[in-house]
């Protein structure tokens, strides 16, 4: 336990992954982490358009009818994270930290963990000159009245999974399919809509790694091209 504070965290960019595959992968990774068969890790992915309903999800926040969703090929997936309905789609950096809470500075303080996720995202957005802030009782990261990153987390056996979705350059119109997180009065923004142009994904991932390293006080390194990444891929595709 004492040396855990300095254990590096590998970060993998898994690219475009179907939501259900990523979900199944997360479940296995949580179990493996809880049983000590693997270490803490951070996974970056991108999804095809999908709507996920958290445990606090309400059907009234879904604005498209079922047939309409089918027509557009959008899946609706109920998930075990907290929060209401969320949209994921191309142009987002979705991050799944699968980490043992006991080994983080926040310990088993769940709100502290949420605030740390926000903090890392705020640091990245600030590095692009954006005035990113928290809003009281509205978990996520905001620029003005618009949410730029959504957060929803689940914890199983003190291992956190699910995580955040940062809007880099998603189709903002797709957020009109839902009341994101059940919030109707505030809007959604992307880095592109705020900056005029979307920064390259590689650069954002790099800044995310640095930000999480600072917040968690542990090295976070790019493991995308490591040998483990290959086996992860196979696991995800053939599990």
């Amino acid at each position: 336990m004492t040396s855990a504070g300095a254990t590096p965290i590998p970060a993998y960019d898994l690219g475009r992954v179907p939501y259900r595959d990523a979900l199944r992968f997360q479940h296995e990774a949580v179990l493996a982490r809880a049983e000590g068969r693997c270490q803490d890790a951070l996974y970056f992915v991108e999804h095809e358009p999908v709507l996920t309903f958290g445990r606090a999800g309400r059907a009234e926040n879904l604005l498209l009818s079922e047939p309409e969703l089918r027509r557009r090929g959008v899946e609706v997936v109920p998930v075990e994270r907290g929060g209401d309905v969320t949209y994921h789609g191309p142009g987002q950096v979705v991050g799944y930290p699968i980490v043992s809470l006991r080994d983080l500075p926040s310990g088993c303080d769940l709100h502290h963990y949420l605030r740390d996720l926000e903090e890392a995202l705020i640091r990245v957005l600030s590095s692009y000159g954006l005035d990113a802030v928290r809003r009281p009782s509205l978990t996520g990261v905001w620029v003005g009245d618009r949410k730029v990153a959504a957060i929803g987390v689940a914890v199983r056996r003190w291992v956190a999974f699910h995580g955040f979705a940062l809007n880099v350059d998603p189709e903002l119109e797709h957020f009109g399919w839902i009341h994101p997180c059940g919030i109707r009065e505030f809007g959604v923004a992307s880095m592109k809509s705020l900056l005029g142009a979307a920064p390259p994904r590689e650069e954002i991932l790099s800044r995310l790694r640095s930000a999480f390293a600072e917040v968690w006080r542990r090295p976070v390194w790019d493991a995308t091209r490591s040998p483990e990444a290959d086996s992860l891929w196979k696991e995800m595709l053939h599990a």
Binding site: R58, G82, Y113, L114, T139, V153, V155, E173, G176, E185
Partner: protein, 461 residues
């Protein structure tokens, strides 16, 4: 030993969580550390691991209910154990094996809520319906004569309030009860003497104590009897939570001030009456007063830009675009769809757009863009008959115009009383940014424009 499952300390700022889902049912076997129940707090859903192995013996807190940190959620039983009664908040289940703690000695009636033992009855006058008396058959202390009376009339003693010493039910009490029941107010009449501590004030004659009133009692319909004090509890919807948050934020942040004026709508009523059939026929659009009001408001906003502004800590943002929010009632709760760039749209375009937005608002089909970015808001309480109201500002805007019922009222014109179609206009404004003068002038300008629509409509069409 049965092991209780409690809400653990989940963080410094976490005091409670909602039980999300029980992953196990009562009777299910449980391995240690296996997830058994979900707790949701903020945006986190945590699965609590079982503190020990066994079977799930009891679920104390059901799904969807909020539990405090440290509160018992359920109980895990070891082998051969049965559910403990001690922690049960309700009637103790007679348990065969586990020895009953002394506190669980059965109360005379299950409804008796008092956790104290009735072994030493206090001589305090009974006030409630439950009488804490040592059990004597039916649990009531009364004389044999009274008992006989009760039996004769087949009464439920527990519903009679005793006015005698130590809550004793007297003959008077029983007779009063019978009389009250006859009047359809069974159990409703306050026990005479129950208010004995009160001093009657003034000239009112002192209330009769026990003797039945010689005067004719006030007829009490059955409805007047206090009911079960039933309350229906429903969770707050997210929409309602957001509305509540926005409303109190506005009240808290903005320095609300209101000013109002009477508008003579006669000319506009005539104009609309002349146009509406034609508009409906030609364009399929219902022409209400709202598009005219939107147009008048936009004109006035251009003349008094501060009403279309918003302020931050150090800045004022004068918006040179005119996105007019129009509050719409829905069953789910208020929503404010927006006519964007109302200054660049014709009256008919605005009419069509309002109709479309209203329809989609009620069908819950609004898109984010429809409700984002208004610069000024109009709310029509007149739709439901209000003749005046002071709306809450749609913060961070600085003004909201309330429009109301148009009704014929007598007014004075040139020393004569005439009938005109009148409407009250109310402007709520944020007095931090908007001084009284521009607020009043703005409202007066809106009034002028509405009173003489033909003067300005020509150059907007």
């Amino acid at each position: 030993m049965p092991v209780t499952i409690v809400v653990p300390q989940l963080g410094e700022s976490v005091v409670e969580g909602t039980v999300g889902k029980w992953l196990k049912k009562v009777g299910d076997p449980i391995a240690k550390d296996e997830p058994i129940v979900e707790i949701i707090t903020d945006k986190i859903n945590i699965e609590l691991p079982a503190p020990s192995a066994g079977t799930l013996g009891k679920i104390t807190v059901e799904e969807g209910v909020v539990a405090q940190v440290g509160q018992e959620l359920g109980v895990i039983l070891g082998q051969g154990e049965s559910a403990p009664a001690a922690a049960a908040p309700r009637a103790p289940a007679p348990s065969s094996a586990a020895p009953q703690p002394p506190a669980a000695a059965p109360a005379p009636r299950p409804s008796a809520p008092s956790p104290q033992q009735p072994s030493a009855p206090a001589p305090a006058p009974a006030r409630g319906t439950a009488v804490e008396e040592p059990p004597s058959g039916d649990g009531q202390r009364m004389s044999p004569a009274v008992r006989k009376l009760v039996k004769e009339h087949q009464l439920d003693v527990s519903s009679i309030r005793g006015s005698g010493m130590g809550g004793r039910v007297t003959r008077e009490d029983v007779l009063n009860h019978i009389e009250a029941a006859r009047l359809g107010a069974a159990a409703g009449a306050p026990a005479p003497g129950a208010q004995a501590g009160r001093v009657e004030l003034g000239a009112a004659p002192p209330a009769e104590r026990a003797a039945p009133s010689p005067k004719k009692p006030i007829p009490a319909p059955a409805l007047a009897a206090p009911g079960a004090r039933e309350e229906q509890v429903e969770p707050l919807t997210n929409v309602r939570k957001k509305i509540a948050e926005n409303m109190s934020r506005s009240r808290h942040m903005a320095a609300h001030c209101a000013t109002w004026d009477e508008v003579d709508m006669t000319a506009l009523v005539d104009l609309r009456a002349r146009l509406k059939e034609k508009v409906k026929e030609t364009y399929g659009v219902s022409l209400t007063y709202m598009p005219f009001i939107v147009k008048a408001v936009v004109r006035a906003l251009k003349e008094f830009p501060v009403l279309n502004a918003t302020m931050t800590e150090n800045e004022v943002h004068y918006r040179k675009y005119y996105n007019i929010g129009i509050a719409v009632h829905r069953d789910a709760g208020l929503i404010v769809p927006i006519v964007h760039d109302a200054d660049r749209k014709t009256l008919l375009q605005i009419a069509a757009e309002i109709e479309d937005l209203g329809g989609r608002a009620r069908a819950d089909k609004l898109q984010l863009n429809d409700i984002q970015g208004s610069t000024f808001t109009i709310t029509n309480a007149g739709m439901f008959g209000a003749t005046a109201s002071t709306p809450i500002i749609n913060y961070p805007e600085v003004g909201v115009l309330g429009v109301h019922l148009i009704q014929e009222r007598p007014v004075v014109r040139e020393h004569r009383i005439v009938i005109r179609s009148m409407m009250t206009l109310v402007l709520s404004f944020d007095h931090r940014l908007v001084d009284g003068t521009p607020a009043v002038q703005f409202l007066h300008r809106v009034k002028e424009l509405l009173e003489d629509p033909e003067s300005w409509l020509l150059d907007t069409i």
